[in-house]
Amino acid sequence: MKEGLRQSMAWVHTWSGLLVCWLLLLVFMGGTAAYYKHEITFWMKPELHKAADAPSRVSPAESATLAVRELQQRAPKANAWFLDLPHERNPLIYASWTNPPKKGMTREERRAAFRTQNFTLDPMTGEKTAAPRDTRGGEFLYRLHFDLYYMSAIWGRWIVGIASMFMLVAIVSGVITHKRIFKDFFTFRPKKGQRSWLDAHNATAVLALPFHLMITYTGIVTLMFMYMPAPTKALYGSEQNTMFSEVFPNAERVKPAREFAPLADVAPMLLQAERAWGAAPSRVVVTNPNDANARIELHRPAGQQLSNIEPTMTFDGATGAQLSGPKPMSTSLDARAAIYGLHVAHFADPLLRALFFVCGLAGTAMVATGALLWGVKERQKYAKAIANGGKVGFGVRLVDALNIGAIAGLPIAFAAYFWANRLLPVEMAGRSNAEANWFFIAWGLAALLAQIRPTRAMWRIQLTVGAAMLAGIPALNAFTTDTHLGVTLFGGPGLRPVAAFDLVVLALGLLLGWAAWWLGRKARKQAAAKQPTSTHTTPLEAT
């Protein structure tokens, strides 16, 4: 039989999607959460909530002065200082520094010196806030979505990169193989079995197609120097770093003069930048502080352009004079920065960020419905065997089990991570790693149980557990902190992220609970319709 383009593309779509779908679910969920990584980190550090409650009355220039004063006492001889000043998504002053390596240090000691040390200031008082608990917060979820975990980042990035390329293939082949893309544009027919799953897959995929294409393609571009090293190799040989310093507009790195010079006042520089940009800088980097070759770099806050490389202003730290700053970017670098910027969406205001989040959830739903669809279709081949009390094939069983472990199991893992953040002892050693371990303990357990009994009852149990754990987070927060919904909903704007986090996980928990209830209702209906049958071999089929 001669196969048309559509049929062969259907094959490509099915297998490129199925092979990587469970990993893609992790990447999609992690990446979607990462749109709120600052808010998640803030929620996970309840010690900082109190300081953020009052609205900041201190100007950015004053904040920077406060932080510099504190850094002068704690780390006058640091390599570099980094200040994140209060702005829309960050209610506090975050300051950190790296120490210079000394002669005769071992490699380990050098690495330790480079590790940043930090503190947080209350912008109201200029006082140091309570030390937050040791957690990686949203950063863990962000890293997880392209570095994975328990392996070197390079391996993780290759694995995620290959999965992304499969995803890109799946998207393009999916569009080609979808015969009725325009006729079925607005179609969703529930309670029609396989038809409904296909409609749901199409609706989540087609109606957010610009997002899915964009996010997959730009995701690959963010790591293009790793995935496509040939051009750099051809032009620069082994001197990759030369390429980076030539291409990227880093302010020229100056060596310390090893000659003391008092650091100029940063406040006038911030005011100058604010006048030029119409927005106060959100980040200040001081290299070689208190040295004759000190440099102060101010970064414009995101929100005015797609590009993730924001304009900077550079000042001589000893004289306070403005320097010419980094060289202008080439057009191709500008294009890359815009593509990169689209992926990370630093520019997004609250509304646009919410749209990115919803589209990310739609992407998760697209992958999930696609994975379920394979099982639903494949199961039909066994319809006769099942009717005669037989079993489904190994492939269907495996896919069912993986689907349960990923679709129902991953929300449990995310919830476990947040529960661990509140329940592990605050003073515990290696706390941030323990939190991450709980993510994988919960996920591993869910995936294992799914492999042992991939039944419809297992779907219901895991969806219910995930629902209870997510929806229970606001209650958990109320029992373990002073900033529960009763306080955060009526508190200052600084506490809004805490309230929003509680409400969003509650909503996601209710969604999972609804899915569990829907499955249970179906099971009861079927049991009533054809007694007596064994229900435990019936998996997530359509209604």
Partner: protein
């Protein structure tokens, strides 16, 4: 300019709603099995639908500029299309009534853009 974004969203909804009504399946959902729109109705609604989508694009550009506006528009289009899809399934007649919101939204958008 959140009013502009709001009216842009209404326009996207209205544009998709008008387009969906011209499709046989959805027309039948609303007007009963077997009903088909006349060619004139089809053309009129389709034209109005495209005008709605184009105006919603302009509203997004007006609200967020040429850099971020198109990104915002894509997100709003997805949101509008999902709303139309769900509404067509559960309350098909509301799609027809809801499409009228495009009229005041178009006037508001034009007024805000020309201001």
């Amino acid at each position: 300019m959140s009013i502009l974004i709001l009216s842009g969203t209404a326009l996207a909804f209205s544009g998709f709603a008008a387009t969906s009504i011209t499709m046989d399946r959805h027309y039948a959902d609303i007007h009963g099995r077997g009903a088909e729109p006349s060619p004139a109705t089809r053309l009129r609604l389709r034209t109005l639908g495209w005008i709605g989508l184009a105006l919603s694009f302009m509203a997004c550009i007006g609200a967020s500029g040429w850099h971020i506006g198109p990104v915002l528009w894509c997100g709003i289009l997805s949101l509008a299309a999902w709303s139309v899809t769900l509404l067509l399934q559960y309350h098909p007649r509301k799609v027809m009534h809801g499409a009228w919101i495009g009229l005041p939204a178009a006037l508001l958008t034009t007024a805000l853009l020309l201001r």
